[in-house]
């Protein structure tokens, strides 16, 4: 079975400082991994995804994530936080090997950005 653990339920950073949202996964085969963002009262939006190509994945809005198989991690980073980054972030692993059907979601990390 696949599972995802987001190590922090809340992260608070100052505007202009780096962002690190941590995610560990468990999977019995090579996974597809995703980060989604949800702004208040908005739907889920895909930030980036890893599908066994380059281990460093670049996404929208300056976010990137690195797949580390040895550490079973897929942490999300951004060099400089912006106020508009305040949202909830979900790390997600694909639970089916061939069609990416079932996604398993982490519990979410709420990012707060202070001015």
């Amino acid at each position: 079975a696949q599972s995802v653990t987001q190590l922090d339920s809340h992260v608070s950073v100052s505007e202009g400082t780096p962002v690190l949202l941590r995610c560990n996964y468990s999977s019995s085969y090579s996974p597809s991994l995703f980060w989604y963002v949800q702004h208040p009262n908005k739907g889920l939006q895909l930030l980036l995804k890893y599908t066994s190509a380059a281990t460093l994945v670049k996404g929208i809005n300056g976010f990137e994530a690195e797949f580390k198989k040895s550490e079973t991690s897929f942490h999300l980073t951004k060099p400089s936080a912006h106020m508009s980054d305040a949202a909830e972030y979900f790390c997600v692993v694909s639970a089916a090997p061939n069609n990416g059907n079932k996604l398993v979601f982490g519990a979410g990390t709420i990012l707060r950005v202070k001015s």
Binding site: L44, N99, G100, N101, K102, F105, A107
Partner: protein, 113 residues
Amino acid sequence: DVKVTQSSRYLVKRTGEKVFLECVQDMDHENMFWYRQDPGLGLRLIYFSYDVKMKEKGDIPEGYSVSREKKERFSLILESASTNQTSMYLCASIAWGAGETQYFGPGTRLLVL
């Protein structure tokens, strides 16, 4: 762009009522999903469907049923709503293929009184 729409953004129902949540996608995707989202729990899969008239239980199917009569439409049914079904419900669709992106609707916030 893929568009996934849900019939209502907000719903208020009474305990015991039958509730229908509708979801429509416009990209001819084979697979559709219903999740519920609760604080601190992330998204949990209720049911999914990989073809018309096909359905499979997700992780928390109890108290729910689904219907998929047409490829573009996937309905979630609460046969007899209860207060513990107060939640945000999200529909998603995805094309067949490894690593494909799931596209989500805006969600329906359901309050059961």
